[in-house]
Each structure stands twice: as structure tokens, then as C-alpha cells.
Symmetry: D2
Subunit: 335 residues, 4 copies
């Protein structure tokens, strides 16, 4: 017998909105009823493409049958939309980040603490099958006690410089995923961060006040160490890897390739490329996020990550930024 579908709405019709909207529409456990119209123009077009209606935000919150809202709007609107939905008793599936301003986020702690509905802030690595396999392997004890972690997160090509000013900078916009991955896989809170950052890819990024290449070293209270490698331009695709080193061995999650094709010639053996961007790389993770939201709506799961994970990752980003500026490690207790 099919489970009943939960009526949901979505705010946001951009790049992430198109992904989450498509996945919600295809998920038999969700009924994506309408897209919420905001100042941006995309809602009607996406609604038409998905075959659903539109509504104002007020109409949506007033809909007693509406169980949840997918927040995939512009980053600087996540926080307000999310809190308004929660206040109205609607479960929220918010695309990361909840907000780019740590102080602002912390100031609203009480609102989240007593929220009338569950909040899921989606960090895609946590539902990626490859990183999940790595997490399970660590948890199994197969590599002994976890000592160190190495995360690689390289973008294929830099964003347009116009993207930089509102992005929050490399650490808040990009490394944020790795901070969450580090917290998740190490199962311990980092206590200090050292970050070395450069502008090696595109001078326009530097001119916009940001960096495009970074290496970071995080340390937890028990002495676990995590390194993070970031660049805005790999030249070879979207490189997403993690290696976990323990007292009895090592486990790693490597990049999936576009196919298993190999071509052998006198020059060697050429394997197929890795994914060319996050949409392809995390397609399965995005589908699972939508399914996880259905589980939450069904009361079958607590959100994997919410306010606490958002604050935790953002604090690390803040510390990294400060370290990159000062050239010295930064203690999390000072953030």
C-alpha cells in the first residue's frame, strides 16, 4: 500500500531550486503543490516546468494541509523564510547555509530551540553514498581508532567574479561543506583551525576580496587532525574525496567516474572523467535529501543536520577566515 504523500511547497527557483523541485516532484512520498512567488522572476517558469501551481508565501503558510516547505531561495533569505515557516508549524528543508552571519544565527538560537516544527538544513555530503560508505567503515572499527582525516574539495572552474561579493567568501561558501564533513566523520568538535589561503586561480577573485585556493588544518581536543584542500579551479572536474586514517588502516572515498570506460593506447590507459560539477556529483545525495525530508514529515526520522550543524560549520568558517588573515591558528573558543 502506498504511503500518503505530504503536501509541500518550495521557495526558490534558481539552480538549487530546479534540483530540489525536480526531486520533490519525482518523489512519490511528496506532493509538490506549488512554488512560492518571491521578488525573483523564476517561480512561475519553474512551476510550469514542474507542472505545479504557485502561491504567495502568506497563502502557503495559511494552507492547513501544507506539511513542509523547501527553502532554496537566495542565501540571505534562508533565515527569515525558515523561521517564518517554523513559526507557522511547517517543517523546513533548507538548502545550506541557514545563514552566512554567525552572530545573527546565534542571536536566533532561542527561536530554533523552541521551534514548532522540525528543521533540516541539507549538507549534501552526508547523504552521498560514497561518503556514507566511508562513515560506515569508520564506525565499523575496521580502521581502528580514527586519528586523522584528509578532505579534498576542488571545484572544476571558478565562479564568475560577480558571484564573490554575496557568496560569503571561500570558507563560508565552499569550505563550509568540508567543515561539516569534518565534524561528521571525526565525530569530534575541532578546537583550532589554521588556514593558508591564496589567490592563485583568478586575480578578479582577489580583487573582489576573496581567495580561491586554501589548505587548512583542524585539530580536535583529543588530538585528531583534519586537513582540507580547496581550489576554485581543478582543471580536471569536481574532485570530492576523503581519506580517514586510523590505528589499524585507512579508508577512503574516491571520485566516481562518468562511466567505467577505459581506453588503452600506447600512451597509457585513459579512464573516464569525474563529474564536472556538483549537480552531477551529488544527484543521488540530493534525491536522498528529499527522501529524508519525507521521512521527517512522516515522523520516521529526526533531521540529520539542522541549526546546531549550521552554527558548528559556520564557526569553523569564521575561524578559518580569521586564521587566513592573521596567519596564525585560531581557537574555536575565541569565535
Amino acid at each position: 500500500m502506498p504511503r500518503p504523500a505530504f503536501k509541500v511547497a518550495q521557495i526558490g527557483a534558481g539552480r538549487m531550486g530546479a534540483i530540489h523541485g525536480r526531486d520533490a516532484k519525482a518523489n512519490p512520498r511528496l506532493d509538490l503543490a506549488y512554488l512560492i512567488e518571491t521578488r525573483s522572476d523564476g517561480a512561475k517558469a519553474l512551476a510550469a516546468a514542474l507542472g505545479c501551481g504557485t502561491a504567495t508565501f502568506a497563502e502557503a503558510l495559511a494552507d492547513p494541509e501544507l506539511a513542509g516547505v523547501i527553502v532554496a531561495s537566495a542565501t540571505d533569505t534562508h533565515l527569515d523564510f525558515t523561521l517564518a515557516c517554523l513559526a507557522a508549524g511547517k517543517a523546513v528543508f533548507c538548502e545550506k547555509p541557514l545563514d552566512l552571519d554567525l552572530a545573527r544565527l546565534r542571536a536566533r538560537a532561542a527561536d530554533f530551540d523552541g521551534a514548532a516544527a522540525p528543521l533540516y538544513v541539507a549538507f549534501n555530503r552526508r547523504l552521498d553514498p560514497h561518503f556514507q560508505a566511508l562513515k560506515a567503515k569508520i564506525a565499523s572499527g575496521a580502521i581502528g581508532r580514527l586519528a586523522t582525516l584528509a578532505i579534498v574539495n576542488h571545484d572544476p572552474a571558478p565562479p564568475p567574479p560577480s558571484f564573490i561579493p554575496a557568496s560569503g567568501g571561500l570558507f563560508r561558501d565552499f569550505t563550509i561543506h568540508d567543515f561539516d564533513t569534518a565534524r561528521w566523520l571525526m565525530d569530534e568538535e575541532p578546537v583550532s583551525v589554521f588556514a593558508l589561503a591564496e589567490c592563485l586561480v583568478d586575480p578578479a577573485i582577489g580583487a573582489a576580496g576573496d581567495v580561491d585556493t586554501a589548505r587548512l588544518i583542524l585539530r580536535t581536543a583529543s588530538g585528531r587532525i583534519c586537513t582540507i584542500s580547496n581550489t576554485r579551479r581543478s582543471g580536471y572536474g569536481y574532485d570530492q574525496r576523503a581519506e580517514a586514517y586510523g590505528s589499524a588502516g585507512m579508508a577512503l572515498a574516491d571520485n566516481p567516474r562518468n562511466s567505467t570506460l577505459e581506453t588503452w593506447s600506447q600512451d597509457g590507459a585513459m579512464a573516464a572523467p569525474i563529474a564536472d560539477g556538483f549537480a552531477a556529483r551529488y544527484a543521488e545525495a540530493f534525491r536522498r535529501e528529499t527522501d529524508h525530508f519525507a521521512d521527517i514529515l512522516a515522523g520516521e526520522a529526526d533531521p540529520l543536520t539542522g541549526y546546531e550543524a549550521s552554527v558548528g560549520a559556520l564557526a569553523l568558517a569564521e575561524a578559518a577566515g580569521r586564521s587566513a588573515q592573521t596567519g596564525a591558528p585560531v581557537a574555536l573558543e575565541d569565535i
Copy 2:
């Protein structure tokens, strides 16, 4: 603007019916309106699980809005259902094989030749991304002129002996995929087949008159050679590979693994297992079959494979069977 969905029905509620039904339901270009009730009991249950109705075969054929029918019923009913649907002007997506009896199939050639609607007989390798990448690489000329081909098709574990009598035997039931792959990748018709077959896995399979292990060598008129490796029990998963050798190099499609996880210990580096069966291995191919059917219904594509491919593969199976029995190569012109 979303494309209109084509109303389709499905016959068959078994293992393949569950797969094709799920994919049809999830495909936004198809409207799976009902399952067709047959003597088997499963239609109502699958219809309920998929959230669609049921109808008799006569009702379905009489439905003027019905554009196509998915035939995923018992193998021995494929031919009659398919021909009835075609006669009624309904496009057909028939799970392979169209039939297990070459003479019977050939006797109906005229019916297929003048059919009032298109027929797609689905051979899943043709829409698998990995084999498609291999086909494209061969076609690109990157390996020069194709000379030889090696296909590996190993099942993880043997079917229950009760499956054997109605299966048509190893060559018609299992190797049939490799015969189609050989015809597709070599782009030439084999003219002779040599097959060596043994019962090495399960004596009960031998007692049922079948074999469970085989090695075959096919030869085309121009001298291209294709080898096929089959077993009913690999002991390590569902092994699906092909290697194409040309005058300037080699290209291969390897097995995808369940994840990119590797675990390194003093014993070596363990990679994740390959798929444990066809449902997982060809999930994407099955989705693409459904999408290909939508393309056919939309008049945007001719069926990749139909009556001719079915006869071609079945003739090779017939030749293989005869070769395994006589111990000598069999010429296709004698089949």
C-alpha cells in the same frame, strides 16, 4: 513547458513488471494509467503499490487514449500480447525476449513487418551508460578498426532449478544478452558460433537438461571474432564487462562498484563490491528504456531494437545450443 504525458498500460506484475512499472510511474512523460489483469494474481497488488488502476486486456485495447503498452508478462505470453497490441495500433515496449522459439517468431514475420504501431524489444545493455560509452568509443575510431570483442556475463548465483525448464536454457535466457551486445558492438552479423558448455555450478541444473557455464566464439564474415564468457555463479557479484580490441588500441567497459570506498590494511586494498544482480546493475538502463519508449511514443525516435534484433539474437542462441550439443561450430546459414 512540460511535454504531455502519454497514457500507457502494463501487462505483467512480476520481477520485471515491478521495475518497469516503477520507472513508468516516475517518468514525467508517461502516464501509467492501469495494469492489465491476467491469470496471474499480481496485477492488483502492483497497481495498488504504484497508485494506478487495473483493467482487462480487452478494455485496454479498446481505450482510444491508450498510446502504448509495456509487456512484462511471462515470457511465453510476450508474442501474443505484443501482436495483439500492435494490431490494435498500440505501441509496444516488450521486455526481452519477444519469444523463445525461433521458428514461431519467424513464422510471424509478416505480422511484424506490417505492424500498425512501433515495437521496442528492450535489450538492457544497449542503454547502459557504460556499454554506451564503449560503443561510442569504438565508433569514434579511437581504437582503429575493430578486430575482436570479449564479453563477460556472469550471474552472481544460479537460479532455482525450477526456473530452468521454462527458461529456454542458458543460451536463450542468459547469453541472449551477449548475442545482442555482440551484434550491436561489432556492427556485423556473426556467421558461425562455437560453444563449449558445462554444468559446473549446480548438478540440478544439469539434471534439468541445462548447462551453467559456457565459453563461446563467434565469427563474422569479415573475420571479426567475439568471445563470450558465461557462468550462472560468479561468487563475487554480477560481472558485466566488455573489451573491444582494434588495430590501434583497446577500449573496455568495466563493472561499476557499489561505492568508491576503499579500505587499506596490511592485507591489501579492498574496493567495494560490484552490483549483486541485474536490478541494481541495470537500474539506469531500465530508466532509459522507459524514456526511450516515451521518445518512440513522441515520434522522436525509432525503436533501437525490435523484431529483427530479437530474431538475430535468438538465431545465435539456437546456433550455440546446437554447437554445444554437437561439439562443432555451427554456421548461422544453417539456422
Copy 3:
């Protein structure tokens, strides 16, 4: 304390002579005293390059201190030189094949049977670390009972057509290694051979009466099956692989690559080439052959392969040739 070195001589200063001579010179357990001068001109030059003397064959056999002779001369002289050395009580390390004529070899069975010194006929795969690891894995029982075997032996580029007439043909000259590997890894004698052979690489090879591409299927009495894939031109290097399939899994020996370098670009990940020929691929095996000869001279080992292995492999080559000509499988008992 260093072991005493055994005084040895070598006949043959060609391609294999250079390899075996170099290895013998570098082996601290052997004292390569002289090269034996034959009608060919190379002995003096090689002796100079290796820093050793020369002698006539008669002088060598008369040298009471000479413990063994390395026979790496022209193939058609192997048998006579070997038998003369054995008759003189000198241990022999003979490069394969002992002879290309099965009848001639069988006619001398008694001479070998009662030989006064040990005879080692070197088949290089048996001392290759990768194939040895495969053999050990099979023997360990890790893959259950061995059922089938697949051997790939592809040359990078065809020999000059002038090489063909004296070579004995593809099966005696090239596949001979795979016949030995099959006998070794299956640990059972094949009872029938089917061979399909073509001339797809170089018409001049066909004009010389030989073939350059072949696929073979061998069967043992218990039903074990071995396939062999041969070509004279791979276009991608010297491809040397074997896969062993058992009741509980599979083990394979893959090609080593020239280095572990990988280069990742938008086109994919390029791994280093495999060896470009037998000299590089089997360098370690050749060194171990020399060491095995030292073991034999020291009485610490019996020859891994000698007259019996030579006859066994050659009989398979004979059967393969007959099968390729007649188009039907050939029983070994008819050879």
C-alpha cells in the same frame, strides 16, 4: 657466508642470449665463465660486453669444472645442444622451446628420461611475480574450486614477416606460453582444443602461411575450461593477463604499468602505459629463472619445467593448429 658460485657457460648471443647472459653475470651464485662460439657471430661481442671469455662447444663440454650450460641459441639448435650437454653431465637451462617438432621431441624421450644431469626448460610466466601470486591464490582455496581460466597474451606489434617461416607459427611460437600457463594454473591436462585463427593484423603474415589473431578454448577431463586470447598487435603494449574463476570468486593477475603516474584532465585520468615488450615485462622472471638454475645446480630445487612440460605445451600447439585448419575441436589423444 657467500655461497660458492657455479661455473656456467652460455650458447647463444641473440636477443635472449643478451638477457640471460646479463642475468647470469649479475647473479652472485653463478660464474659465467665463457660464451660458446657457434656459427653465429655474436658470441665474441657479447662476451666482451659481459666481460667473460669464449670457448668452443667441445672445450666447454670437456671443462670438468663447468657445472651447467645456458642454451639460448637459435631454436632449431636447442634440442641437439641440450642433449649433448646432458650427455656430458652438464645441467642445462634451455630457453623455451626445447624444439618445435613434437614427433622429433617424442622420439628422444628415452634420452631425456635417463639424462645424467638436470634439464630446466624456461617458461617465463611460471616465475613472474604476478602470475605466481595468482597461482598461490588459486592454491590457497580462496576462490573455491577452480572452474575456468581466461588468458590474455597480446603482443604490442607484429614481428617482421621474415620471422614467420622459422617461428613454427603462432601456436608453437607465441601461444606456447599460454598452453604452459594453462597447464600450470589449471593443474589438469586439457583433453581438447578448439582454435579460431585469423590474419587480421598483417597480410604479409598470412602470405607467409601464418595467422596473427586467435581465440582458443581448451577443456580438461573434469570439465575445466580455459580460453586464450592472442594477437600479434595490440596497439597498446604487451598485454599479459590471466583470470581464474572458481566456485567462490575470482582472482586475476593484471598488467603492471611502467609507473604509478596518473594525469587527470578534463578528458579523464590517464594511467602510465604497460610494458612495451617481453624484455621489460618479464625482466624479473628472467632474473628468477637464472636464480632457479642456481638452485638446481646447488641441488636445492628440481627444475620447475623440463621435457614433460615442453611436450605437453607443444602437443597443445599441434592440436590448436589442426583445429584452426579443420575448424573443429581436436582431441589431445589424437595428437
Copy 4:
């Protein structure tokens, strides 16, 4: 025509002495005439094993035919032996490090500057085929302009605690290789070092005042970044890798495995282990070091690395140690 062999002697009969002695003995371009007796007892035994004589250091230096000396003695004797040999006009092949004390090394700069014979201080990575292939790929421009580098150097198992006090500590004893590799592959001098070091493997190492796990970030004047990952216990073998990231892609040198054997089961595919220690991993590099020394003696090559490389790597080790203690990056100009 064989090249004449250069008469050489060796000081040191320990672990490295055994390796260099064996390689020198097997190298046809060198004549390892004697081992030099020092306070340690091993010289006579190694000389016997290698089949050469012994001499005092004074005798060796007085031997007018002696062309060079291999210094593989205890680390704290390298500097004095080396300088004495150079002063006597003997070329030196000194196992790294030249010395563990940067100040002492710098104080002798003039002695090295005006040395009467060439000095080769051997850093094994520079002659490893895999790292050499990586260096050549970077130099070819295939990955564009080099931006960042990641080096992994993990020991399989920690040394006995008794080894620690005289070792110079992790950075001088172990990371020293990576500092040299970084200088070599980046082709630029690091200007700052940040090191985070822990004792996660063996408390006895901590009790001896050392660390066993470290992550480092080096930065060059142009902004190139190099990370180094070290541990004294991997639990899975001797992990030796490097990844070079450029503006147009990435190249890496991975670990060679003991064989190409793979074993496939329901649990996955097990590849053979990597080397279990430096002796196996760098066997080919050690052979090439010996050959490079022969080139130097023949006047055919300048030493790849000598006093300058020794000081360069040691200065980085000094900076790393200071950084690990202070918790802040250290500028090389302060060392």
C-alpha cells in the same frame, strides 16, 4: 666494450650499509674493494657476505686507486667522514642526512664550497621511477602552472622508542624526505612552514620527547602551497604518494603494489598490499643512487643533491620543529 669499474669503499654496515653495499657489489661500473672498519662490529661480517675486504679509514684514504667512498655509517658520523674523504680527494656518496645539526652544517659551508671532490647526498625519492615520472610530467607543462602539492609519507609501523633520542626527531629523521621532495617538485624555496604535530601512535615516542603524527603546510614566495602528511604507523604499509595540482589539471604518483593480483569476492575486490617498508619501496631508487654515483665518478653527471639540498631540507625541518612547538607558522628567514 665494458666501462672500467671505479674502486670504491664503504663505511657503515647497518641497515643502509647492507643495501648500499649489495647495490655497489652488483653494479658492474663499481668495484667495491673493501668495507672500512669503524668502532661498530658489522664491517667484517658484511664484507664477508659481500665477498670483499676490509681496511681502516686511514688505509682507505691513503689508497691512491680509491675513487670514492660510500658513507652509510651512523648519522652522527656522516659529517666528519664525508669531510675527511672530500679533503683526501675522494668522491662521496653519503646516505642522507649529511648531519642533523643545522648550525654545525652551516659552520662548515666553506669546507664544502671548496671541496676537492664531488659530494652526493642521497635523497631516495629523487631517483624513484614513480616520483621521477611525476617530476617529468610537471616539467612537461601538462598540468599547466604548478600551484599546490600534497605529499603523503606514512611509515608502516613505529620504530622502537630507543631509536627516537638519536634520530633527531620526526621532522629531521622522517619528514626530511618530504622537505627535499617539496623543494624538488615545486622548484621553489618555501618561505614559511606551519606544522601541527601529535603523539597519536605510541606514548613511548611522546615520552621520548618526540611526535609521531604531523600535518604541515609550506608556502613559497610566489604563493605555491605544499602539504605534508606524516605518521609513524599507517597500519597498511609504507604509503608514499604525491599529488601535484596545476592550472590545467593534476598529476600524481601512487603507491606501487606488491603484485597486480586482485581477488574478487562478495566482499569486494582485494588488491595486493603496498610495500611494507622503505627497503622494498625504494629498492630501485637505491640501485639508481649507486648508478648515479658511478656517473659522478665517471664525470658524466653532477651530484643531484649535495650540501645545498641538505641544508635546505634541514632548515625546513628546523622551522617545522619550531612551528610545532610554538603553534605558529615560522618564516624560513628566521631559521
